[in-house]
Symmetry: C2
Subunit: 236 residues, 2 copies
DNA sequence: TGTGATTTGTTCGTATGTATG
DNA sequence: TCATACATACGAACAAATCAC
């Protein structure tokens, strides 16, 4: 009878540490050299164990950077009310937003149609990056009717929250009228912002939010990292 | 004052023909050579015009095959009741299914958990290809509790319809309990079946259907072609 | 199953007219 | 007037993917 191989023992040990939250999702494991020293074995033996963990999907090596504990995809519920901050807090993540652009311009055909405006009407545009635990999970571009919300950009700049900015604009509540979902490949720009490789899978969501009277208040497009987000649809 | 360029005139002419249904979605345009002859210009000039249309997303060239009028992605509504045949008929498409596999085996951990079975319990597996107007739009793998539906495979083989096969198994109605969505890249096998290129975007949907009493009757995974399908979420 | 014809993609080269400074 | 840059248009050849037999 053969003893269990050293590489398997190392894999088991690391797996135990990961599952018991000694290492957390997104954490970098010690370098292969450090692990080899710690276990008193050759680096190749450590690599063998890490390879097994990678095949299980538990870790995810990045050349030149290190071996990282796999992030379980963030669950992002799509429902009648889609609220970024709430969604991520409910998933136990720390939400954050980076502002990439805040501007007012004339809306294009699709934007104006979605917002029930005449083509060419002025719209506010809010582009940004959504982060969960500091990791980018989505790019978004939201468009709002400019005339109805004169101070929206200031409020967005201050709060970064669509919900709060709309509330200050007199919209106490808004709900999702439609959502359309596609799979796409990341463009170079998207990859840059989301810290992905060009050609990585992207889940694109296009939706319109309406106020209590059914008037569109926001037309939003969101590009989720396909690897880092799972959209969930729960029927009420 | 300059005349309008020939290539633009050709693009306008073709766009007119497309918008006026002279060419329909999925149709192949005449070859570049044929168009060049028809308009009495060089092939490059035709290509310039076609390139403009392609950038508008109106046409979609395929090397070695031809230039095709863009198919608008099939809308596939995700709701409480997801019915392939109804969904496609509602979108004005002709639905069809190819059977890739029908078998009974013991379910793995995830399948049994989703179906609320003990691990290793026997399940029926239905793998196939969903077609709209003859074009493959999705691969699916559905898993059913084998004990509860003894003749399911025969019924599936005969009707190809999950709804009908379950009805014959005594399930008059079933509803979607959960849906989870991810973006992935097509594997070689998936690309082959869906007639895509490896690495093309795939929208993966994982869901469980339950009967009127809330008992799971189907655990299904579907891989939609990201380009050919738009999932829509309405009336949550 | 493979083989040749068809069709788009790419890269050379040539020539002309127009706007700019 | 000259030099330059750019868009337009034509021609030829070959590569690569696809399709039909």
């Amino acid at each position: 009878m053969t003893r269990t191989p050293i590489w398997k023992a190392i894999a088991d040990s690391l797996r135990h540490d990961i599952l018991n939250q000694h290492y957390n999702p997104g954490d970098k494991l010690p370098t292969e050299a450090a692990l080899a020293a710690k276990y008193g074995v050759n680096r190749h033996t450590v690599r063998h164990g890490l390879k097994a963990l990678a095949e299980e999907g538990l870790v995810h090596p990045r050349r030149g950077a290190g071996v990282f504990v796999a992030m379980t995809p963030t669950d992002y519920p799509l429902g009648r009310r889609v609220r970024f901050h709430q969604n991520l807090a409910a998933a136990g993540r720390v939400p954050a937003k980076d502002i990439l652009a805040l501007e007012t311009r004339s809306g294009n055909a699709r934007e104006c149609e979605a917002l029930a405006l005449d083509e060419g009407t002025a719209v506010h545009v809010y582009e940004g990056l959504s982060l969960a635990d500091g990791q980018p999970i989505a790019l978004f571009r939201s468009v709002f009717p400019a005339e109805r919300f004169p101070h929206l950009l200031d409020n967005l700049n201050e709060t970064r929250s669509v919900t709060e900015a709309l509330r200050r604009g007199g919209v106490a509540d808004y709900t999702r009228a439609t959502t359309r979902l596609n799979a796409k490949l990341a463009t170079a720009t998207q990859a840059l912002h989301l810290r992905l490789a060009e050609g990585d899978p992207i889940l694109r969501s296009i939706g319109t939010n309406i106020d209590a009277k059914g008037v569109p208040v926001e037309f939003g497009r969101t590009w989720f990292s396909g690897d880092r987000v799972t959209l969930t649809v729960n029927n009420l």
